[in-house]
Amino acid sequence: MKKTDPGAMLTCSSRRTFIRELSVLTFALATAPLPALGAPSTISSAKNTWAMLVDIRRCIGCQACTISCFQENAMPEGCFRTLVAAYSIRLSEQPGMQPAGTYLLPRLCNHCDKPACVSVCPTGATFKREDGIVVVNNRRCVGCAYCIQACPYDARFINPATNTTDKCTFCVHRIQAGLLPACVETCVGGARIFGDANDQNSQLRQKLRQYQGQIRVLQPQMNTTPNVYYIGLDERFQGKVEGMPALWSPQRSEGASHTGMKGA
């Protein structure tokens, strides 16, 4: 079975086998600066390259993004293209030290420049548009789920209503209408910034410049070159998050690696 971050799966789930919004982790967060990205590494020759910057410091975990995406895209019950994974982290057992903290991580398709999902698609249903958005043609998709296995971000799932692969489209139908993706429009903390990475004057580019050295992406070692960037992304959350799934399906914790709340 694929080892899965219990908080990260974007999926359709029944209440029985469920996304776990809160996971318990047991390490202190690193505060030392790490090698980080500057601006997008490749600027496409296309007119636009759509990208998102998530300022985690501003996320309040209200799931407005999750639900607005669900409503906007008329998703079937329990299917979410984006969500905020919430982690409770054990920090210190020293008296007087903060014992635990909350870490929030909005997740969605990373619309990679080198998408792992595209090359494995046997029908060409999954492809990357000129403007950088990775999409699935639901007429061509046969639901083989290779792309779901290939995606290092757990961003894809089978939509039970269509039996085809489903994922975030950056609300391409809204972008084409001159609007913002639903999740961005309604982000209460103002954490999600969406824009054109080709436009030097866009707020996205300005923020990427302003926070140069602090910008990170998820799973950098996978060399997928994502177009979703983060401020405040701790290195421990860049890869698979190893923790103990805590809510709603503790019996399924076998799949995740325990880092030991038991006996603590």
Binding site: S13, S14, R15, F18, E21, V24, T31, R57, R58, C59, I60, G61, C62, Q63, T66, I67, S68, F70, Q71, E72, A74, E77, G78, L83, S88, I89, L91, G96, Q98, A100, G101, T102, L104, N137, R139, A161, H173, R174, G178, L179, L180, V184, C187, V188, G190, A191, F194, G195, Q203, G232, L233, D234, A246, L247, W248, P250, S253, K262, G263, A264
Partner: protein, 1039 residues
């Protein structure tokens, strides 16, 4: 026979497999609606076409002719944010909801009202990146709650019970039958005669001859509501002013009542309970105690947004003191946010420890506290002042012990009828040790005098000195000082479980930022000493003098008022208006004013009263049901429940009253006005449908946290789903009371129900009559009326739907202005006017009265059970019961080692479980600290049994360090027994029910009754009368 989900879905002609997951209402409706199950677009699937298109070069907006976008107000929680609702015109279905960009509750940088509606849409778009900074949002709940609009669980037609009370069997009846039966009564249920509302409206006959102070019989009709969600003024007009009952109470006593009461004590009004909020955008340091910014609270989004911005790109550092770790913490901000765990119900120990340290280390603002009045304060550059220097009589035997010394107490000439009124001055001690009139002082006064004079020496040669030694005068600050020094820092630390150096560190940090620090609390104060804990939190602010300062503790901007005697219409008073009289059923008056007291006093044993009285509390919905069912102070003949759910929300209430509530002999008539069947109105005899969210009217003032004047407009942006009255109007609270008024011929309603500013009669026969005229008052308020809505505004906002009604109900110069309000979703003072233009470091809307370090109303009241005097300022008092006995005396730690705490969900309110939010967070495992878990041999996923003196529940446990040791944390919003959980049968047909909804537990099901009140009432704070749900004693075990 129960109808399963599978059957509901099958009834829609869909394969059960397609919904084999969990089929919420949203899914069922969506799939029923799209019978051909279209695949939609090959890339975007079933996503509907966007609501409008914004040209990326010009910013020009083209509407989607099939959709309507309107600005109105959410009702997903009590914040009542301004939202934009996107509806499909053909079906009336709501497609999505986001924020109103004009409204400060939804937008960080609200648009100027002059901006046209069309331009407001461009401001939300990608055009020039405007939609990023101009973002106007709805939260997760605000997005999900729209699913209720189409819920098959809604009540849309009047229901009358067709079986015994709470049998779940109903008959739909016509509106005419409803009104006739309710007004005239009769043998309505074949259970004997039931008095109707007309007969019960006896404004003359005392309801109890032996207690005329209870008022007339009409007071035996009582109305429980929830919050003023924008329509309360009309309900109050009907029930209090036209019908004439005294009894109307909201849900505050079982919401955040303790905090409001504690705040009301400092701000000097224990009925209206003013309160402040941190000015988050300009603050440097804030302590949140029992309230979690961005996790929950009111205003939820605005607080979350401001905290998110200030902690990442502003100056803010903050600490959340809470037994439970929540989303208020954010580790990506490192030490900008901190969580300090605390034992439930011990905030007072932390605060008094801080105050003690501040007093010992010269960290209170002595110069500020020494200002005895506003003028001296202003001259010292202070925008507020306190009673710290005012003198209090503390001599035990003195008749006015606990009261402030007044001029008349020492011979300053005051007419007898003005004694102890506002004209009777408060006294302070000047620098020379002389008593002076506080209001007349021109210099700072002493606040911690080393010596109190023994005489008052009046000015004027013929005046004799007055001996004051036996009054044992002390300044208010001396009394606070005494309270703080009753315990050592070690004792405070032991009590609250916070290390001493954290207490002193918090105090140091709190006093390191001048006026740019503040402390605030809220629902976390609902413990058995919540009043004093809360009074302590707000007192911290007074001690550093931050009230009214930019960056400090600031007041709400207030509304543009719809009701009142406004510039266009008088919506307050009318001919034949009743002035309700008599004591309210919640006993929030002094026992000493009752006939019972006269009798017991004459018998030589004035105390205890038969049960507790709460002279310093507001209307107490916590006390209502036990009071009316026991008939103390009196019983009710009819109970009206308007969108409220005390049986779910009041800890310990359901178990205490549900048997009696099912007995029609106890309360002969129960009428509910509501949108759903909940745990409380399941006991109703009749349910009247009410409007829901975007079909609903209202003028809504922010509850707090918006420093500029704000009034949000709610209007039916789609056709309401409720059945219609004979006049063709949707049945709702408004059309219900209008029809009752007509049937009983009550004043203030009907063809001549209202008057305009010139005194001409106008009608009050439909909701538009009321809300449009309220709108006219709002539009014309202030120096200059607002502008007119253009044809373009009307078209773009969907307000053209109401054009005919607006034109016919309003005067020619009014209707476009009222339309302007609806097109923008309200009236909003520009956000840059939060601070005073002439004093930019002060807020514009300031609290101008004294801040009471000692509250004399509290400090002079006696406990009606023990006869003991209450202490009048902040103090540390362990949680206790109404007679003053400590909770641990009744329920010792040895037997009940754990404490339960309720915490607010970042997602759910008390009724949002039946939406797609329920899928995200389907139940609420109880939080347990790893050490406690180890002690009890519990691990994640185990089923734990929780036993309190009030009952037993069991549920899953989750183990992590995000909870205080010795505490079980229980998230609110779960454990429902109604709202679709139970099967109701209407007209013999089983209604849908939801097998997944009862998931989780409700802490209120195991709330306590008060052993010092014979367990005949629920556990409430002895002063505030507010429910206790934090710090419930418990034992736990593996189930």
């Amino acid at each position: 026979m129960k109808l399963s989900r599978r059957e509901i879905i099958a009834a829609c002609g869909l394969a059960a497999g397609a919904a084999g997951l969990s089929g919420t209402v949203g899914k069922i409706v969506r799939e029923c609606a799209s019978s051909d199950k279209a695949e939609g677009d090959k890339i975007s699937g079933l996503a509907p076409e966007p609501e409008f298109v914004v040209d990326k070069e010009t910013g020009d907006v083209s509407l989607n002719p099939g959709q309507q976008v309107s600005y109105t107000v959410c009702m997903g929680c009590t914040t009542l944010c301004g939202v934009r609702v996107r509806a499909d015109k053909a079906t009336g279905k709501i497609l999505r909801v986001a924020g109103n960009p004009y409204n400060p509750l939804s937008a960080a940088r609200p648009l100027a009202m002059e901006t046209s509606v069309k331009k407001s849409f461009a401001a939300l778009s990608r055009f020039q990146d405007m939609g990023l900074d101009g973002r106007a949002t709805a939260c997760g709940r605000g997005n999900a709650i729209m699913e209720y609009m189409d819920s098959p669980l809604r009540v849309l037609k009047p229901l009358k019970r067709s079986g015994p009370r709470n049998s779940g069997r109903w008959q739909e009846i016509s509106f005419e039958q409803l009104i006739k039966e309710l007004t005239t009564g009769g043998n309505l249920f074949n259970e004997g005669h039931v008095q109707g509302l007309a007969e019960l409206r006896d404004l003359q006959t005392p309801l109890d001859e032996n207690a005329p102070e209870f008022g007339p019989k009409v007071n035996q009709v009582g109305v429980l509501s929830s919050v003023n969600e924008g329509r309360e003024a009309l309900a109050v007009r009907f029930w209090n002013q036209a019908y004439g009952t005294q009894n109307f109470a909201r849900h505050g006593a079982y919401c955040g009542g303790s905090y409001r009461s504690g705040s009301g004590a400092l701000f000097g009004d224990l009925r209206r309970m003013p309160h402040g909020k941190p000015d988050i955008s300009n603050a440097e340091f804030v302590i949140f105690i029992g309230t979690a910014p961005g996790n929950a609270g009111n205003p939820f989004k605005r607080t979350g947004n401001l905290v998110a911005g200030a902690r990442s790109e502003g100056e803010l550092e903050y600490v959340v003191v809470d037994p439970v770790l929540t989303n208020a913490d954010n580790r990506a901000c490192n030490d900008r946010s901190r969580w300090v765990p605390i034992r439930p119900g011990t905030d007072g120990a932390l605060i008094m420890g801080m105050i003690r340290w501040m007093l010992e280390n010269n960290r209170v603002n002595i110069a500020y506290l020494s200002c005895p009045n506003q003028d001296v304060a202003k001259r010292s550059g202070e925008p507020s002042f306190t009673s710290a220097s005012w003198l209090v009589i503390t001599a035990d035997g003195h008749a006015r012990c606990g009261r402030y010394l007044r001029g008349s107490d020492i011979g300053i000439g005051i007419p007898d009828d003005k004694r102890y009124s506002g004209a009777d001055p408060y006294m302070a001690l000047d620098a020379n040790g002389q008593l002076v009139i506080a209001a007349a002082a021109v210099n700072p006064a002493q606040i911690l005098p080393l010596q109190m004079p023994v005489q008052y020496i009046p000015q004027g040669e013929d005046k004799q000195p007055v001996d004051i030694a036996d009054m044992k005068l002390k300044t208010a600050l001396q009394l606070l000082h005494e309270a703080a020094f009753r315990h050592s820092l070690d004792e405070y630390s032991d009590a609250c479980g916070i290390p001493k150096d954290i207490i002193t560190g918090l105090a140091r940090k709190f006093t390191d930022h001048g006026r740019k620090a503040s402390a605030v609390a809220h629902g976390g104060m609902m413990s058995g000493n919540g009043f004093y804990n809360a009074y302590g939190v707000v007192t911290l602010n007074a001690l550093i003098g931050n009230v009214n300062w930019k960056g400090g503790f600031v007041m709400n901007g207030g509304p543009f008022k719809d009701v009142g005697n406004g510039p266009q219409y008088n919506l307050t008073s009318f001919e034949g208006q009743v002035k309700p009289r008599g004591m309210p059923i919640g006993r929030n008056v002094a026992f000493e004013r009752t006939s019972e007291f006269k009798r017991t006093k004459a018998e030589g044993k004035p105390y205890p009263a038969r049960d507790a009285w709460f002279p310093n509390a507001p209307a107490l919905s916590t006390e209502w049901l036990p009071a009316m069912l026991r008939g103390y102070p009196y019983s009710l003949k009819a109970l009206i429940l308007w969108i409220c759910n005390p049986l779910y929300g009041v800890p310990g209430l359901s178990a205490l009253v549900k048997q009696d509530l099912a007995d029609p002999k106890k309360i002969p008539l129960i009428v509910s006005v509501d949108t759903m069947i909940n745990e409380s109105n399941a006991f109703a005899d009749y349910i009247v449908p009410d409007s829901l969210m975007y079909e609903c009217w209202g003028w809504i003032e922010p509850w707090n946290g918006v420093p500029t004047k704000t009034m949000s407009a709610r209007w039916p942006v789609i056709e309401p789903k409720m059945a219609k009255t004979p006049e063709g109007r949707p049945i709702s609270m408004e059309t219900f009371v209008i029809a009752l008024a007509k049937a009983m011929d009550l004043p203030g309603f009907g063809p001549k129900g209202l008057t305009d500013a010139q005194g001409n009669h106008v009608s009050l026969e439909c909701p538009e009559d009321w809300y449009f005229r309220g709108g006219a008052n709002i539009a014309f308020m202030g120096q200059k009326p607002i502008g007119d809505a253009t044809e373009e505004d009307l078209h773009y906002s969907g307000v053209h739907r109401m054009r005919e009604a607006l034109e016919s109900k309003l005067k020619p110069d009014e209707w476009r202005k009222v339309a302007f309000l609806y097109t923008r979703g309200g009236r909003f003072q520009p956000a840059d006017q939060a601070q005073d233009q002439s004093m930019p470091d002060w807020q514009t809307n300031r609290f101008n009265r004294v801040l009471w370090i000692w509250n004399e109303n509290v400090g002079s009241s006696l406990n009606s059970l023990s006869g003991a005097r209450f202490w009048g300022c902040a103090q540390w008092l362990p949680p206790g019961f109404a007679d003053g006995s400590a909770m641990r005396k009744h329920y010792p730690e040895k037997e009940w080692p754990m404490l339960l705490v309720s915490f607010k969900s970042p997602l759910h309110n008390a009724c949002s479980i039946a939406t797609s939010l329920g899928v995200l967070r389907p139940d609420n495992p109880m939080l347990l600290h790893p050490r406690d878990a180890a002690e009890y041999g519990l691990s994640i996923g185990d089923i734990m049994k929780v036993i309190t003196p009030g009952g037993t529940v069991q549920g899953k446990v989750i183990v992590h360090s995000g909870v205080m040791r010795g505490v079980v944390g229980i998230e609110h919003g779960y454990g429902h027994k109604e709202l679709g959980v139970r099967q109701h049968v209407i007209n013999g047909i089983a209604r849908p029910c939801r097998l997944d909804l009862p998931a989780g537990i409700n802490i209120n099901d195991i709330g306590l009754t008060d052993p010092s009140r014979g367990n005949q009432a629920v556990w409430v704070d002895g002063i505030a009368g507010s429910a206790v749900r934090n710090g419930l004693p418990a034992k736990i075990a593996r189930a």
